[in-house]
């Protein structure tokens, strides 16, 4: 109940930031597989255990900037104007997210991820959790049970749209193309 004020919070955030920055820097410099956790910890001047108290796994160091992905999707559902249809709102959000991750300044990190199976797997598994969260948000918004197959399906499809577009030659066009398909799929479900 007592929320810590000021310095302690800032120091913690600074430590976390320093670890993430150091890690990304080393990874980009020497490659993900050629930098060990012990290297990162040493360079960031923290103990290995401290590193793991801030991040659940080595891979998480790379996706530090990726916060807000899940939150953004949920908000696209919950915060949309009354009467605004679901799918276009999600389409717009996915457009934004895809632009963000295919931006030129994100290219080094992207190629880092693509070049490491461990990172690709980790990302995929993150996205699946996001799909579950999104499905729950959609179900809540529509007032149907969380286990609704249609909600879970469309949530997965939306995450697929993101993944496919990030790998496509023309990401923006890919989003539109996949979303035309999603729109049709949603129309064919009982909940449309």
């Amino acid at each position: 109940m007592i929320e810590p004020s000021g310095r302690r919070e800032r120091k913690k955030a600074a430590t976390r930031q320093k670890i993430a920055d150091t890690a990304l820097h080393l990874f980009l410099e020497r490659g993900y597989d050629d930098v060990g956790i012990r290297d990162v910890a040493a360079e960031a001047d923290v103990a290995v255990t401290t590193l793991f108290s801030h991040f659940p796994a080595k891979e998480a160091l790379v996706f530090e900037r990726d916060q807000g992905f899940e939150h953004g999707l949920v908000r696209a559902v919950t915060d949309r104007a009354p009467g605004e249809p679901l799918i276009p709102a999600l389409r717009q959000e996915i457009h934004a997210l895809v632009r963000h991750c295919t931006a030129p300044e994100a290219a080094p990190v992207r190629s880092l991820i693509v070049s490491s199976p461990a990172l690709r797997e980790y990302e995929e598994s993150m996205r699946m959790r996001h799909a579950d969260t999104l499905a729950a948000a959609i179900a809540a918004d529509l007032g149907v049970p969380e286990t609704s197959t249609a909600c879970r399906t469309v949530a997965r499809f939306v995450i697929d749209a993101y993944a496919l577009a990030c790998e496509a030659a023309e990401p923006g066009d890919a989003v539109d193309e996949v979303f035309r398909m999603i729109e049709a799929a949603w129309g064919a479900s009982r909940l449309a």
Copy 2:
């Protein structure tokens, strides 16, 4: 070019089988996390290095029986009667696969997988590779480039159908429901 005849192949297969059987037995008995690779190797009476020359990772021991999943999907595309439409063929195949994995005798292995995050993640990542293979097969069948977004999309959707149905209360109904959506999505793509 020279294919080894007989005994050597059989012995290798037998070793592989023995490792997989021993592993599954131990996992079901004591739980996935409470059985180490060294336990499995000792019980199967092989060296740890031998085990890893047969299986790429601990998780793979659990999915040994799962061979044919990918192959079945691809064959559903390539071996269908001339003129038979794509989606219903895939629907039928997914129905079969879902029945197989929700069958009562598969329940212990299923709950083993569900209860272990590592196994769930490994399965998810396997399925994604299957989606890529399926996408390539569909693209080849339709004579379009492998990078076709519509093909890659529908392949992912089909894999989603499998995953969603396996977790659904009524797997058969879930397959049908998701495939109604996929059918609509496919119809909305340029390739239909």
